[in-house]
């Protein structure tokens, strides 16, 4: 019955437009004495207005509603996220007032770019938030109109280096293509872009043949029938693309899983009671169907294996280690 009361409390809080905060009773029990006595800062390592920033702001809004505490979102952008990642790992005070709202590309920075300065162990994961799967999209006009992912891969094998694919260098865009090329023997012409959206726009403009991106990035073009998702790099099919097969289904494989997973961390050494409270704040907000609806509207889904986890820190660590193995296998990291 706890969940129902939580839902009701959140609903009430939502209906009141935040005029008075309806504190969640279960959450109040966990509240450490005298904490927080100032606003809690959610650090986002990308500029305001992007997907990561919106996720953090929605989360902050509902955490405030559930807890009655003040939460601020602070953007520490720069170095493609590296500046903020380094800040959280090395400079932020472990006093419970700094929480990092991160995406799984934090691991790439920690494993490939940070060695010698800091590592994964410098932060502790406290909650899973949501995920966005990387999908392949093709145009509704041009030579690959109506083609399946397998057919496009075949074309890239028959005529190596002629099928143009949008990639974001040094990221999962590239890793997924690496895996697909290794699996099928295809060879793509990789056109580099800085982010998923510019690549998708290039697809609409006929400058590339295949683009890769997240649902939220191409939803409006999908509605306008300017592109179609043809395969998705998630473990299971995603709610908003029910009829789009996963790469794993297509190849009967397991390794084609590339998604942005969003989670919260605190700097290492944050007191246990504060850590537990910060974690519970997010967990409570995640129970709110209204917030989940806002996340779904951004295209994000909740990955059951993480959402139902009983030891989230260990599960997130395991996911990071899996990515580390990939870096070693592909020679990106010397073991």
């Amino acid at each position: 019955m706890k969940t129902i009361s939580t839902v009701l409390a959140s609903l009430l809080a939502a209906l009141s437009f935040g005029a008075f905060a309806q504190t969640d009773p279960a959450l109040a029990k966990l509240k450490p004495k005298g904490f927080p006595d100032q606003p809690i800062e959610y650090t986002v390592v990308y500029p305001a207005g992007g997907g990561m920033d919106l996720t953090a702001r929605i989360l902050a809004k509902f955490v405030e509603k559930a807890s009655g505490d003040k939460v601020l979102v602070n953007n520490r952008a720069g170095g493609a996220g590296m500046v903020g990642h380094s800040y959280l790992a090395t400079q932020a005070k472990p006093d419970g007032y700094t929480v990092g709202i991160l995406a799984s590309n934090f691991w790439g920075d920690a494993i490939l770019r940070a060695p010698g300065k800091w590592s994964l162990a410098d932060v502790e994961s406290i909650a899973y938030i949501n995920s966005d799967a990387l999908a392949w999209v093709a145009g509704t006009e041009g030579p690959f109109k109506g083609k399946t992912a397998k057919e496009i891969l075949q074309a890239a094998k028959d005529k190596p280096g002629t099928v143009r694919a949008a990639v974001v260098p040094g990221s999962m865009w590239e890793y997924l293509l690496d895996q697909l090329e290794a699996q099928t023997g295809a060879k793509f012409l990789r056109v580099p872009f800085q982010g998923g959206k510019p690549g998708i726009v290039a697809l609409i403009g006929g400058n590339v043949d295949v683009a890769q991106g997240f649902y939220g990035e191409f939803e409006s073009y999908l509605q306008a029938k300017q592109l179609v998702p043809i395969a998705v790099a998630s473990a299971e099919r995603v709610f908003n693309m029910k009829d789009v097969p996963t790469f794993n289904e297509i190849f009967g494989a397991k390794q084609f899983v590339w998604n942005i997973m969003r989670f919260a961390v605190v700097p290492k050494g944050t007191p246990a009671d504060r850590k537990a409270y910060l974690s519970a704040m997010i967990q409570t907000a995640l129970q709110n169907p209204e917030m989940m609806a806002e996340f779904r509207r951004l295209g994000a889904y909740s990955d059951a294996s993480f959402a139902k986890s009983t030891n989230i820190a260990a599960d997130i660590q395991a996911a990071a280690m899996k990515e580390r193995d990939f870096y070693i296998q592909t020679g990106r990291l010397k073991p």
Binding site: G50, N75, G170, S171, P192, Q194, S220, Y221
Partner: protein
């Protein structure tokens, strides 16, 4: 007509006390952040973004858009008065605007800047109202090769910015390129010249460069002369543009509006490029180009019109394609998404109330800004009476706060101070910064689009010949470049570069 009906609906959505209040509030905040050096529209929008979540979509978006416009209006003020541009888009305004101020005509320059901004803002809104869906397809036609050609054209325009020695000017362009190389390589993701620090892995922060080069170094220069401070205000010659000013300005204003709108529309453009290209154009077609840099009002009217028109132009790909052209429109996109709207091809059909409501708020915001800015001209001119020893520490303080607030990274402040010192030395040696800055702004896009084109092209450079838009732009650039060098050569027969 659909557009007329739509706009009518927009105004009926807009005219509530709440919406108009937030539109006015945005205009005031925007003007303020534009005037204050260092605090650009981006910092203000990021701060106010969470506020809009509590508002209706039209009120929230209307307020944010008004801040963006307002910053373009206000940005020219410090350029003209104290030669310190509030942000990159008003760098060119300082060239002739400040020269006018020195001649006691600050009022005319400020007035013309506000009027040009209004005219261009309104004209381009009319274009946005009637041609949005049509123009969206133009933006899509600009793939990597077209963007590259556009960047080349922009770069050639910087040659016209060079006032003194050609050699020094070209050197500054080269330095601008070098500065822009710092940071992560866009193709293979490797760090370049980052000196092992993560602070440089996304490149040198442009805001720090502008504030340092223009703001800090200007203040350092003035420290030398502060004792013999001649207050400009002693020779103010009237607050308003004269009839002759109007006559000289209306054509540049129209050309600036058109140019700015188009450059705002295409992905590689934006307010900064628009202002530079407009200045170049005016200087190129003027009968007596020597006046430029010495207080030609055309040099204020054209660029100020262009940067405001570019803001409206940039709204089209934002609304109809969901493509943000720069960091500020990216924030507006975020605000729309938070309101439950995915801007894109279906935006106008799915949420006509919201689209037209926002468009209507842009019209109203422009009127508010004009009404706000014209009476302020007198007030700003009075600011010149503030002794520099009071004014400059204040500006320096604001510059530091503004630069820090953008990323909350202390490193950016060191960069700002470093560029301030570099700027001081370069001023002493009579180097101009404008070619440096425009090269610095254009280089990343130039490099990216060139490398994308080369990857896409089966036959190397021929890709620029096969694509008509790119070919026309490249040929145009070559002709312009040839003209520049021929003219300079004929003027300097002794080879004194």
């Amino acid at each position: 007509m659909d557009a007329i009906n739509g706009l009518m609906m927009g105004f009926s959505v807009l005219f509530t006390a709440e919406n108009l209040y937030f539109c006015l509030l945005g205009s005031i905040v925007g003007t303020l952040v534009g005037v204050l050096p260092g605090i650009g529209p981006l910092a203000a929008l990021a701060l106010l973004l969470p506020v809009t979540f509590q508002l209706s979509a039209v009120a929230g978006l209307g307020m944010l858009a008004a801040i963006f416009y307002g910053a373009m209006y206000g940005g020219s003020t410090t350029s003209i008065l104290v030669n310190i541009p509030g942000e990159a888009a008003s760098v060119v305004t300082a060239l002739d605007g400040h020269a006018m101020a020195k001649q006691g005509r600050a009022g005319a320059a400020l007035g013309m800047a506000a009027i040009s901004s209004f005219v261009a803002g309104t004209l381009s809104l009319v274009a946005l109202t009637f041609f949005s869906p049509l123009l969206a397809s133009v933006a899509l036609k600009f793939g990597p090769p077209e963007n590259f050609a556009l960047m080349v054209l922009g770069l050639v325009c910087t040659l016209y910015m060079i006032g003194g020695s050609t050699l020094k000017g070209v050197l500054m362009i080269a330095l601008g390129f070098l500065g822009a190389i710092v940071g992560m390589d866009i193709v293979n993701g490797q760090d370049r010249f980052t000196l092992g620090t993560v602070n440089l892995s996304a490149g040198i922060e442009i805001l720090s460069v502008v504030i340092g080069l223009y703001g800090v170094s200007e203040i350092l220069m003035n420290c030398e002369t502060i004792v013999k401070n001649q207050m400009l205000a002693e020779k103010i010659k009237g607050l308003w543009p004269t009839f002759a000013d109007w006559k000289a300005s209306w054509k540049p204003m129209m050309r600036g509006s058109f140019l700015g709108f188009f450059l705002g529309l295409v992905p590689g453009g934006g307010p900064v490029t628009a202002s530079f290209v407009s200045y170049t154009l005016e200087r190129r077609i003027a009968k007596d180009p020597e006046r430029f840099g010495k207080g030609a009002i055309e040099g204020v009217a054209g660029p100020e019109a262009a940067n405001n028109a570019a803001v409206s132009g940039g709204m089209i790909p934002l609304f109809t394609l969901g493509i943000p052209g720069n960091a500020v429109t990216a924030l507006l996109l975020g605000a729309l998404v938070m309101q439950g709207v995915q801007p894109g091809p279906m935006f106008i059909t799915q949420r006509p109330d919201l689209f037209w409501g926002v468009v209507a708020s842009l019209y109203v915001g422009n009127v508010f800004l004009l009404l706000l800015n014209l009476p302020l001209v007198g007030l700003w001119v009075q600011c010149l009476r503030i002794p520099y020893r009071v004014l400059f520490p204040l500006i320096l303080l604001l510059s530091i706060v503004g630069t820090y607030s953008a990323n909350k990274n202390i490193f950016d402040l060191w960069v700002m101070i470093g560029f301030g010192i570099v700027g001081y030395v370069l001023r002493k040696l009579q180097y101009e910064f404008s070619p440096f800055l425009i090269a610095f702004v254009l280089a990343p896009m130039l490099e990216q689009s060139l490398r994308q084109s080369m990857v896409m092209s089966p036959d190397g450079l021929m890709i620029f010949a096969h694509r008509p838009i790119a070919a026309v732009l490249i040929v145009g650039s070559l002709i312009l470049a040839a003209l520049v060098f021929l003219k300079r050569k004929s003027k300097q027969p002794h080879g004194d570069l």
